[in-house]
């Protein structure tokens, strides 16, 4: 895509490329189509990993999730030890952010159930309104397909909890192992570099993680960089 290219042409190219990552449509969901009994299967070529934000009530109205219609009543069962990414204490009580492997059971609208492997992030902070600690519902789970190696996007799931500690927001999320650092750029241009936290080798976590407490209720940009300082991805939150 040449910079001199017309914006309309560039848009057309980007949209076609994105659309072509979808190579099949799911069967009609009400009932299986004639001669078909297979469950919904995802394209194994285009989108291999889907981040599914599962926890519903943790952040009250701000954090309610857009996917409740798709994943009706998912249940999350941890199947590994928890890796503590970060922990701390606010005026309202302690908090802890952990990552772990889980099985996520979902039900489609026609009652079919399926269990998928996932990596989940939990923010345990019992004092947050609506918080469900102890993982009856995870905050954010990334669906994984067994046996398929994928680095994922440089910046994956990101979560922002406003007024987490006084007027400071908690921001946390996942990055690929190619990311060596994440910068947070606030609206005024103030930049803070964060350290990436890698899990212990025995857990074989597919992603690394970052956390930050920032004084901002405005737009925040995340910039992921490689070890030699190259920008791998940018994302707004």
């Amino acid at each position: 895509m040449r910079p001199s290219q017309d914006l309309g042409d560039r848009l057309r190219q980007v949209m076609i490329e994105r659309a072509e990552t979808i190579i099949e449509a799911p069967p009609l969901r009400a009932l299986p189509l004639e001669g078909e009994s297979r469950p919904r299967s995802r394209s194994r070529r285009g989108v291999l990993v889907l981040a599914a934000v599962v926890g519903l009530a943790l952040f009250g109205a701000v954090g309610a999730i857009a996917v409740s219609r798709v994943l009706s009543g998912p249940s999350v069962t941890p199947v590994s030890d928890r890796f503590v990414i970060a922990s701390g204490e606010t005026d309202r009580g302690p908090w802890r952010l952990t990552a772990y492997r889980a099985e996520v059971k979902t039900s489609s609208r026609n009652g079919d159930e399926s269990v998928v492997g996932a990596w989940c992030l939990d923010l345990d902070a019992a004092w947050l309104e609506g918080s469900r600690s102890n993982t009856t519902a995870a905050n954010a789970c990334t669906h994984i397909e067994e046996g398929i190696e994928t680095p994922g996007e440089p910046i994956g799931v990101t979560v922002r909890v406003p007024e987490f500690d006084g007027d400071r927001s908690l921001i946390y999320g996942e990055v690929s192992h190619a990311v060596a650092s994440v910068e947070i750029v606030q609206e005024g241009g103030e930049t803070e570099s964060l350290t990436i936290v890698e899990g212990p080798e025995e857990l074989n976590l597919p992603r690394a993680y970052f956390t930050a407490l920032v004084h901002s209720d405005g737009d925040i940009r995340l910039v992921a960089r490689s070890a030699n300082g190259d920008v791998l991805a940018r994302k707004r939150t």
């Binding site: 979808i22 190579i23 449509a25 981040a51």
Partner: protein, 172 residues
């Protein structure tokens, strides 16, 4: 038995065939509008159910794709309205398989453009999708969005201006 039930159990070959012929296009189109595949699939399922139910009153079956497109647009609009009213701020993210090495400037630029597109207000994004992805004429795109040709031109113009601004900000 409703039309969609006949299609779903394979009793109505025409409906089954319509689904098979148009569903991939429909999911891709809805994905352009939502940027979220699961939501796109959900909207498309609902759109087919609604359009099948209207099929008996559809005099010209060639109009099916047009009806389906309009129903998808309405479904996506309703979805965003609902999400806004519920104060939803977290988005599902489809993580695409990417290269293990640092993305080239070209890949990065395309990623920025896609993300900037997702941040546009719904009608502006829909206008761009209809014009540049669906390749509809200004008249047809305007009809699909329920506006005039002048209104469509204004939407596209505002959307492109906003995209340019966002891309400049991202480069800073």
């Amino acid at each position: 038995m409703r039309a969609v039930e006949r299609a779903a159990v394979g009793h109505d070959a025409e409906l089954t065939e319509l689904y098979e012929r148009h569903s991939l296009w429909a999911v891709r189109f809805a994905y352009m509008l939502t940027g979220e595949r699961e939501i796109a699939e959900d909207v498309v399922q609902d759109a087919f159910l609604r359009t099948f139910d209207r099929l008996t009153s559809m005099r010209n079956r060639d109009a099916f794709p047009g009806y389906l497109r309009m129903t998808i647009l309405n479904g996506v609009k309703a979805y965003f309205r609902r999400r806004k009213s519920e104060g939803l701020s977290l988005r599902r993210q489809a993580i695409l398989v990417g290269p293990t090495h640092a993305p080239s400037a070209e890949v990065e630029e395309r990623e920025h453009l896609w993300q900037a597109l997702q941040r546009l207000p719904y009608r502006q994004r829909a206008a761009l999708v209809l014009r540049y992805y669906e390749d509809l004429s200004e008249q047809d795109a305007a009809r699909s969005l329920g506006t005039t040709v002048a209104g469509m031109k204004a939407l596209v113009s505002r959307a492109k201006a906003r995209l340019r601004t966002q891309l400049r900000e991202d480069d800073r």
